[in-house]
Amino acid sequence: MLQGNHITVRYGRFAAVNDLSFRLEEGQWLMLAGPNGAGKSTLIEAIAQGVPYSGSFLWQGRQDIRTLKPAQLARRIGILSQKNTVGYAYTVEEVVGLGRYAYKAGFLSGNDGGGQESVERALQMTGLTDLRRASMLTLSGGETQRVFLAQVFAQDPQVLILDEPVNHLDLKYQQHIFSLIQAWLMQPGRAVLSVVHDLSLARRYGTHAVLMDHGKCVSQGDAGSVLTPDHLRSVYGMDVHAWMRDMLSQWM
């Protein structure tokens, strides 16, 4: 569905993403893994057209997403950022409702068939129905993140891109949101690309993975064949496998 060809993002002389290529096919959940500063979030910003880049992202193998209008892009690709804050006292419902913007753009009255229904469903999926009238200024970090997840669900894209979606959430909501995304992915014509720091989550939910280090791709393919002890040791500079076993043994 989405294909990146030789993507390079430079900040001055420093290449945050260096000649990276990947393919995301229907039904896949592609995990972007790698240590801090590997260029994962920068790659996502490039897909969002938020930073200048060289190379191209192709939609369905033929259309360069640079040529899409912002609203057209938003109907295809939905992005959930790592950190969201709201400055004014908007209600949860107002923020989630903005997810329908891409379907209203261009119309004066904003007649969006099925819009309210999508918003309702998104509120329900993320367990926010009771908080719909709450002020954004009163929400915890985890609640805020759920609101923006609901917004991207309401946006109803075909590809969902998540930058550390469960960073601020406690375990219950981590599990809840990952299973929500997994259920969302079951529908035909959908795919997920996400950045996660937690390698266990990456192995548990990812079907495919791209392991990055210093802006370059170290390995990509099936999640199981990419996230191997050898690969992880070379990228993280430590024995990740032994560490994970040590962590688990705390519970035995």
């Binding site: 912002p70 950022s81 903005l98 891409a102 946006q155």
Partner: protein
């Protein structure tokens, strides 16, 4: 953390709020027409308005001239400038996601003032339209200073982040104020009128001005109101706005142009009037919440009402006649501190 109401009881649309605001505006409007140096009773004021509206005869032609020929254009201009400045402030505060944003903090107002002062000091006019020189210069300088500020901000920080724009705007404003002072000092022939004008004044307002302001408000205000949904997205966050499909650069540019044209025209008529655009959107936000679909219309009303009362205060209610800009700065400054202490902590 101050306590916030967790659940907001907000109707989707509250006609009652608008009806109240409209009634308050109308009442203020009539009161401003009725209070003045010549002693005309409230009843007569209303009857002059009513009869003139239907083309009927009035008791005193002299009184009619005072109401319709002298007071009416001034009051109309005050109302339109108040509404415009407040709308611009609300739009800037949403666009830049910053409750301190306003034409005056962005440097647009002082740029416009510089253009107007230069036009006045040099006697620059357009043939056929005596006032045109000041208006055109104010608009051109408002837009020019906006471009300059954005250019500097862009070269410092490619993402055009809010803080850098505000910071540059404040520095730019200080610099321009100094330049204006220099011009006023050297143009000694005009010192009196120029310095009164830089503090804001509606003393020369006529129907031509009112028409110009109305046209500007209808066009630029219409553009701004059209972008309510986009302003909501910007107020929530520019990155999020891009993710949901807003054409961030284009919308930002259009809104900034509309705002600078509107501010430039206002300033060419009234001189610099501070704090209206900064404070009145906050009051409107307290009444109807941050959603721009309601906030922008409410800001129009609150700005108009506030400036009408400030004008009345400066003309008649105080023992001395003060420039209107002094009144708005004193009242608005105090109001702003109160508002900021109440709401600023969790901002």
């Amino acid at each position: 953390m101050t306590k916030h109401a967790r659940y907001l009881k907000r109707d989707r649309f509250s006609p009652v709020t608008y009806a109240l605001l409209a009634a308050a505006l109308f009442l203020t409007f009539v009161v401003c027409l009725f209070i003045g140096r010549a002693d005309i009773s409230f009843r007569e004021t209303v009857s002059i308005l009513w009869n003139s509206l239907w083309g009927l005869a009035v008791e005193s032609a002299n009184h009619r001239n005072i109401i319709l020929g002298v007071r009416m254009p001034g009051v109309l201009c005050v109302m339109l400038v108040g509404a415009s400045l407040s709308l611009c402030g609300a739009a800037m505060q949403g666009l830049l996601r910053n409750p301190l944003a306003d034409g005056s903090t962005m440097g647009v107002s002082s740029g416009a003032a510089l253009g107007a002062v230069i036009a006045m000091a040099t006697g620059f006019t357009l043939p056929g339209f005596a006032f045109g020189g000041v208006t055109v210069m104010a608009m051109a300088f408002a837009f020019g200073s906006l471009l300059l500020i954005l250019l500097i901000a862009y070269s410092l920080d490619r993402s055009l982040s809010t803080n850098s724009i505000i910071l540059i705007g404040v520095i730019f404003t200080m610099f321009i104020s100094a330049v204006i002072s220099i011009i006023i000092t050297f143009a000694s022939r005009h010192t009196q009128s120029l310095s009164f004008w830089t503090l804001g004044s509606f003393s020369g307002a006529n129907y031509q001005h009112a028409l110009l302001l109305l046209a500007a408000l209808v066009i630029c205000g219409g553009v701004i109101l059209r972008f309510s949904a986009e302003l909501n997205a910007f107020a929530i966050g520019e990155e999020n706005a891009r993710h949901i499909g807003v054409n961030v650069k284009r919308v930002k540019l259009i809104i900034l142009i509309a705002v600078s044209v509107l501010i430039g025209i206002c300033i060419s008529v009234s001189g610099t009037i501070g704090f209206v655009g900064l404070v009145m959107p906050h009051i409107a936000r307290m009444l109807v919440g941050p959603n721009h679909r309601r906030l922008l219309p409410a800001s129009l009303f609150s700005g108009a009402i506030f400036l009408l009362w400030a004008d009345l205060l400066s003309r008649r209610l105080l023992p001395v006649k003060l420039p209107i800009g002094v009144v708005t700065s004193i009242v608005g400054g105090i109001a702003f501190i109160i508002i900021f202490c109440r709401t600023g902590k969790t901002r």
